[in-house]
């Protein structure tokens, strides 16, 4: 009898992960199809980001640095769309520039242009889209000092000097806000070279795993932060346009709940079987 019990405890400790994966997939699909709509409180970091853009006068220059590949979409794309939408609503002049890990940036930009209403915006006058710049951190630092040493043309091959919006822009100091959507090191680069180096208010939207790395700069080089899916969901709620991130947050909740349950079950199994072994 005792031996039978011990065997069952050991099984509990060593559940085949494939069963866990199946449960995880099933639980992730349900809230995507039928959002639960759990309440979401707003973190200070997200509110700071929102307030910064909200407080800018119409016509201010905003820099949006895309440092994520398509693989970062689940956490970063909803935030990118929300911030761009907010910037357009506020009438900001937007400069988009991809770099770092954003090698497939054209797909990201296609999604942004398809999701945000740019009908009242004129290309070259109200917004500009540059192609990929090389150099990673050095590229970001160089952009902060001299845009034209990195870019001579925009994404379409038009000369930078032929774009009316760029006539008065040549360094970080010409922007009122810089936002980065980073799945890698992009947050650090913008904080160091634009936030601390040039005094530009910086918003960092990062994948959740990167948050602990940039949080030390909150209030000192980083004005606001949009933390992964939750941050994007909070931003959507602040904009009063709940969308993709709010739906995904339900899935995130359930996945993490399952994770905690499995850790607890695994520990119960571990202690029970250890006691029996003794």
């Amino acid at each position: 009898m005792t031996e039978k019990k011990m065997i069952s405890w050991e099984k509990l400790e060593k559940i085949d992960p494939r069963y866990l994966f199946l449960i995880l997939i099933a639980l992730l699909i349900v809230p995507l199809l039928n959002p639960i709509g759990l309440p979401i409180s707003i973190n200070n970091t997200t509110r700071s980001a929102y307030d910064l853009i909200e407080g800018l006068p119409s016509g201010s220059n905003a820099f949006i640095f895309i440092e994520t590949a398509v693989s970062g979409w689940p956490e970063l794309l909803p935030g990118l769309i929300a911030v761009t939408q907010h910037s357009v609503q506020k009438g900001l002049k937007i400069v988009f520039a991809p770099g770092g890990s954003a090698v497939d940036y054209s797909l990201t930009m296609e999604r942004v242009f398809a999701s945000v209403d740019f009908s009242k915006y004129q290309y070259g006058v109200d917004y500009v889209y540059f192609g990929y710049f090389p150099g990673y951190e050095t590229g970001v630092a160089t952009l902060a000092q001299n845009f034209r040493s990195v870019y001579q043309t925009d994404y379409q091959g038009k000369s930078i000097d032929s774009l009316p919006l760029m006539k008065n822009i040549n360094s970080a100091k010409d922007f009122k806000v810089a936002t980065v959507f980073a799945s890698s090191e992009g947050g650090y680069w913008l904080i160091k070279h634009w936030g601390v180096g040039q005094g530009v208010p910086v918003i960092v939207a990062t994948v959740a795993v990167g948050a602990s790395g940039v949080i030390p700069f909150y209030g000192h080089g980083m004005t606001g932060m949009i933390l992964g899916t939750r941050g994007a969901a909070e931003y959507e709620l602040l904009l009063k346009t709940p969308s993709t991130a709010v739906k995904r947050l339900d899935g995130l909740n359930i996945a993490h709940l399952l994770f905690m349950v499995t850790v607890v079950v695994g520990n119960i199994g571990y202690f029970a079987s250890r006691g029996k072994r003794r």
Binding site: F133, P134, G135, G139, T142, V150, H256, M260
Partner: protein, 192 residues
Amino acid sequence: MILKHFTTIDLASGMLMSWAVQIGAFAMALGVVAIVRLHGGYIAKRTPGQWFYSLWMMIVLIVMTLLGLHGEITAANSLANPGYNWLVNNVYSALGIAEYAITGFFIFSAGFNALKARTWESLFMIIACFGLIFYNTTLPETVWVGFPVFGGWVFSTGSVAALRAILISGSLGGIAFGIRVFTGKERGYAAE
């Protein structure tokens, strides 16, 4: 560069950074040469279990380079080539998404297997892990609204203090290491 950061003296930092960007672009070419040498060797020697993958890598490298160059030459944009664009959008990106998504499952099973309270340290690790989940998800705040408030305080106060200490000491160590490399006192792996 240090003078530029801490003073108003510019010197030639802007020019140096422009150089760094250009050198970085050229480093890509150097990377290609290194890859061709390495994998070319595998193919020439028919290294068991490797040469076929190396050959496939070389084929992909050549195809992507030629298609990208075609777009650059004809329209000053590699993505203007439909073949290159199709491969990036439908192969590279799809594989990237799949790879990133799979890590979620690995983390799940790794957490289940590793997060066992075998020692006091691992127990604290589990508590910290649960604390972060309570802060970063919204389900716990349906039970108690104080979770995000308390979690936010820990995250932006205790965590920030510890991380700043690590960051400052790491940066000072990096500067000291750099000085030792430049003065020839550091002859370890990274300096050679």
